[in-house]
Amino acid sequence: MALLEISQLSKSFGGVNAVRNVDMTVEGLTICGIIGPNGAGKSTVLNLISGFYKPTAGRIIYNSKNITGLPPHCFAKLKISRTFQYAINFPELSVVEAVAISQIYMDKISVWDSLFKPSKVKNWKQTRLENSYEALQLVGLEKRADEKCKNLPHGEQMGLELAIAVATEAKLLLLDEPGSGLNGMEIEKLMEILKKLKSQGVTILVVEHVMALIMKICEKIIVLNEGAKIAEGNPNEIQNNPLVIEAYLGRGGAIA
């Protein structure tokens, strides 16, 4: 039973069919990639899976649970974590505060507790803080803990989002073009972290343009073009798939 099963997923905006009848599965503890030329619908699929868009048709099953159409705030509890395409964070908060806040969904602190049990609140915040420092260490950002998020260099903002995924104990991680804007060294580092995460029990689904990244770490790759799935397979198969090559060349793109 795959961790994530998507069947006949479709989304149209007005008259535009952004995603058409996409079927795909993601096995647990694997790294799976989605690629495709611009406008293929990759990010839309991600938004559909994480609840930011409601599908016009189709089903999304996660861990045998039907999560189709759930509002976006329900996904943290399901241990599904996602990143965003343009580094999105809490600008005025410090890095460690951002990671700490990300764990709020786990809170069992009620309004009553807040008003009448300040020591319980304090203990819970302390625990969260320790988790946050650990998560930052995993991604190598512990030295940046007290910097404001808006001051983080671009390359490290992705690290922050990954730290958040770790801290929130995500089981499924959805990455939206994590490699964009990263140089070669940063991409290497990113791949290291992703592999580490996988070994810690995280399943990863990556939407990406940077081929080097996808080809090196994904076990399965799904190719979308104009909203529909045109190919599926391991990196080798995809690189040699004529349909894929045509989709990219036809759009003026190139592979690798």
Binding site: F90, S94, E97
Partner: protein, 323 residues
């Protein structure tokens, strides 16, 4: 441990302050300041922390005042009136939440303004119930039942001062606890980046509603206090002037901080007194001051504390300060 002493000294000062004042009018001002602290702190929850500018907030103050006024004139104890005021503001804010909180930014502002103006017009015109523009008069003061002493009527300025200060302190503490708790953190998260907050599992509606309800109830308590202090409640208690004054308080003092509303309340209450010599030009000058403040000190006086304070405030919010 050091902090506790600071607070105790502060309370002691507040307790003996009245005896150092030269006249009753200054005591009156202190009472008004205390009630304004309540108003400002309550507005701060929704407009400072969550960040949605509520122009309708004065309506809850008015609801509290009218509720207790109506009941008190029928012979019901002011303390029951307090409970009623809390219940009414709780219910109204709970019911309003789905309507008002669906909206953001400008829409929220205007909707809340519409809500308040509706209540204002109703209060002004429902002569049978609310007494129209003149309002309700002759509202009795609350009495305190002290075992052994019998009933003590809190009709002196001094007793009312202690009553309002106690309420103000309790409400400020409640606000601080809420703000420091994970609930307060969700407010900051929603304000800083709503999309990310939602992706992190924060149900915006649920948490903003909490802020909205607490803000409404605290404002209602403020309204209860004003009604029993002035013994009169009228549409002026939920006028546009009142909400502008509340907004001034949190803008001058500093939105999104605990001390901000307190500083703002003090300044906004005392400023007109010092501007009295301007006569009719008072309100225009007031407008100029607001204008300059918004431009040069958008984060309020707390901003003058410098970046240290900013970091400290937020840090205390999310990370418990190491004592």
């Amino acid at each position: 441990m050091k902090k506790i002493w600071l607070y105790l000294i502060g309370f002691a000062i507040l307790a003996i302050l009245p005896f150092f004042l030269s006249n009753a009018y200054k005591l009156h001002l202190l009472i008004i300041i205390a009630i304004n602290v309540i108003f400002a702190s309550s507005l701060n929850l929704i407009s400072g922390y969550v960040g949605e500018l509520s122009l309708g907030h004065a309506a809850f103050a008015g609801l509290g005042g009218y509720t207790t006024g109506l009941l008190a004139l029928k012979g019901i104890s002011p303390w029951l009136g307090l409970i009623a005021a809390v219940v009414i503001t709780l219910v109204v804010s709970y019911l309003m939440a789905p309507v008002v909180l669906r909206l953001r930014g400008a829409y929220f502002v205007i909707t809340s303004a519409a809500f308040q103006m509706t209540l204002f017009y109703l209060a002004s015109n429902w002569l049978n119930v609310t007494g129209g523009p003149m309002g309700l008069i002759g509202i009795p003061k609350p009495a305190l039942l002290i075992p052994g002493f019998g009933s003590v009527l809190l009709d002196s300025k001094l007793s009312f001062y202690y009553l309002s200060i106690i309420f103000a302190i309790l409400i400020v503490i409640a606000c601080q606890r809420l703000v420091v708790s994970p609930i307060g953190e969700t407010w900051v998260a929603i304000r800083e980046n709503e999309k990310l907050a939602v992706a992190l599992g924060i149900d915006r509606f649920k948490y903003v509603r909490i802020a909205f309800i607490f803000a409404g109830v605290f404002a209602g308590i403020g309204g209860w206090l004003i009604a029993h202090y002035l013994t009169v409640v009228s549409p002026d208690d939920m006028s546009f002037e009142l909400i502008v004054s509340m907004i001034l308080m949190i803008v001058i003092g500093g939105r999104g901080t605990i001390a901000g509303p307190i500083i703002g309340a003090v300044i906004v209450t005392l400023l007109p007194e010092y501007l009295r010599w301007l006569g009719n030009w008072r309100m225009s000058v007031y407008g100029v001051i607001l204008f300059l403040l918004v431009i040069f000190l958008p984060k309020g006086i707390m901003q003058l504390w410098g970046t240290i304070s900013q970091k400290g405030i937020l840090a205390n919010l999310v990370i418990p300060r190491k004592e």
